[in-house]
């Protein structure tokens, strides 16, 4: 059964914001369980929107998205939360709650599995200190467990975010630009950490990266995205320099057109001067 191994299937998925802005313009993609995939492309290409579709934060405007063979259009309420629980996300800006202590941010990975009352009580007296401790040990910052999260450095906060995913123990890990706010040496160690985690527990891993070198060095499958479309989907040895050049070319113009949706950025149609 091939379909049961399929983690994600996207069939001409589109996502629009408002009536003007098209973030994704017909994405077709299949990702099998346990695959390690890197996503590259210029900023404004739609990578973050794609991630938000894959972790069920957003829903396609049109087209079909299947997760584990389930059509996400049919997911609501409890069932939607159950699917979300199986997908762990790491974000560019960590997205931790700054005023909470580290342990609560880490244990937040369990929220999908806890009854509401239990999660409230955990805010007073942490429900599973050992679980948090072991997750933080895996990312090498066990000693920070009771500190306030906003007192940690950027790299440490990213580790807390990864510990949250460890506690969540999902089938899929999605990481959207997880290393763009840390220095290069830390960047490759965080990418390696993500790969190790997903390898040892056979999780599907999808990472979008700013750095093409990191993507080519660590991932067996590279997907290039530009202007809301997949431009290539290959193993790193088949990717030629001109493909990369193409991917990032005209970046400035695209950037301006997608990131500044105000009146003045619209092209003005001049009446002809005949």
């Amino acid at each position: 059964m091939n379909s049961s191994l399929q983690q994600y299937r996207l069939e001409s998925v589109r996502k629009e914001f408002g009536s003007q802005q098209v973030a994704l313009d017909g994405i077709d993609l299949k990702i099998d369980q346990g695959e390690k995939v890197a996503l590259i492309g210029p900023s404004g290409a739609g990578k973050t929107t794609l991630f938000r579709l894959l972790n069920c934060t957003l829903r396609p405007t049109s087209g079909k998205l299947y997760i584990d063979g389930e059509d996400v259009d049919l997911l609501h309420g409890q069932r939607l939360r159950q699917v979300r629980r199986r997908i762990g996300s790491v974000y560019q800006q960590h997205n931790l709650v700054p005023r909470l202590r580290v342990i609560h941010n880490v244990l937040a990975g369990q929220l999908g599995g806890w009854p509401t009352l239990r999660s409230l009580m955990s805010l007073c007296k942490p429900a599973d200190v050992e679980l948090a401790q072991s997750a933080l040990t895996q990312v090498d910052i066990a000693e920070k467990i009771y500190e306030r999260t906003d007192e940690l450095s950027g790299g440490q906060q990213q580790r807390v975010a990864i510990a949250r995913v460890l506690v969540q123990d999902p089938e899929v890990i999605l990481a959207d630009e997880p290393v763009s706010s840390v220095d290069p040496t830390l960047a490759s160690s965080i990418v390696r950490l993500l790969i190790d985690i997903s390898q040892s527990t056979r999780k599907t891993l999808l990472v979008s990266l700013h750095s093409v070198d990191l993507a080519l060095a660590y991932f067996p499958r590279i997907v290039g995205i530009k202007q809301g479309r997949v431009t290539f989907d290959l193993s790193p040895d088949k990717i030629a320099d001109d493909m990369l050049e193409d991917l990032y070319s005209g970046n400035f113009r695209d950037h301006a057109a997608t990131e500044i949706p105000c009146e003045t950025a619209q092209p003005v149609a001049y009446p002809s001067l005949s």
Partner: protein
């Protein structure tokens, strides 16, 4: 003669529209000045009344009557009970206001109930759900505006009719009117919270209540607490005023002393009120510093 290097383009329609828009601030400023000076006449503002013979006489009588303030032990001990009552009214009034304002403020938070990134997956392509949520949101918002658009003075008047004289109608009046104000400001505080941590919490499979307590409340807590304390301070003042319509507290004493022309007693009560408000202010500053 060399050709001009650039052809001059005619102004586009969108640019012309823009330049009309540019006059709006001047238009509004002009309108404002007009209203400002017109209101002087309509509000019957007349500072010269202070300098008329009658005005001077009664002002003088009022001010000299105030001094020296009444500080006899007899009077002060008599005022202790109403002063405590004023504090008690303000505490319970604020408590009821929080109980009313918190849930309504929650349901009146657009990003929590209908809009924004947290509701996209749930409500996209589900017009029925969206309509229901929109209805809940609008209902909460309109209740809040109803509660706060009626002044606490008028609420007190109605509650005095309903439950009789005494401090209880004052408590209810502050509870309802301040509930409306708190709820509106709570929803604004919740809406201004950084949504990225909330998005991450929801993506772990957490429900809205869990997202609220793990993400929303911790981020909003400092503003939440300090605004509630500020409203408590206002409630002390308000509960003193409400006594004027028979809702107990120091206000009732002010009213009695005024009617007896005992302005020295009025001054004593005003000083007491000032000290109470200052004490509450000091206390809330201490609490804010702890957050």
């Amino acid at each position: 003669m060399p050709q001009p290097r650039f052809r001059v383009k005619p102004p586009s329609p969108s640019l012309t529209r823009h330049s009309v828009k540019a006059y709006f601030p001047y238009l509004f400023a002009g309108l404002f000045v007009l209203v400002f000076f017109d209101s002087w006449k309509r509000a019957e503002i007349a500072p010269e009344l202070f300098f008329s013979d009658r005005g001077r006489a009664s002002l003088w009588k009022f001010l000299t009557g105030m001094f020296p303030p009444e500080v006899s032990w007899n009077f002060l001990s008599l005022m202790l009970q109403p002063a405590l009552e004023t504090i008690q009214i303000s505490i319970w009034g604020t408590a009821i206001a929080v109980v009313i304002g918190f849930p309504l403020g929650l349901l009146g938070t657009h990003t929590l109930v209908v809009g924004g990134i947290l509701n996209d997956a749930e409500l996209q392509g589900a017009p029925l759900r969206r309509g229901l949520r929109q209805g809940i949101y609008l209902l909460a918002r309109s209740l809040l505006s109803l509660f706060r658009s009626i002044p606490e003075f008028v609420w007190a008047f109605m509650f005095v009719r309903a439950v009789g004289l005494g401090p209880f109608p004052g408590v209810l009046a502050i509870g309802v009117a301040y509930g409306g104000m708190l709820g509106k400001v709570y929803s604004e505080i919740f809406e201004s919270v950084n949504s990225r941590p909330l998005e991450a919490l929801q993506a772990t499979g957490a429900n809205k209540l869990q997202v609220f307590f793990y993400g929303w409340l911790p981020q909003a807590l400092p503003n939440f607490v300090s605004y509630t304390l500020y409203r408590w301070e206002c409630a002390v003042r308000a509960s003193a005023i409400l006594g004027l319509v028979g809702a107990g507290g120091l206000g009732q004493q002010i009213e009695i002393s005024m009617r007896m022309f005992n302005f020295n007693e009025v001054l004593t009560i005003l000083i007491m009120l000032f000290l109470m408000v200052a004490a509450v202010d000091y206390l809330s500053a201490k609490v804010r510093a702890m957050l």
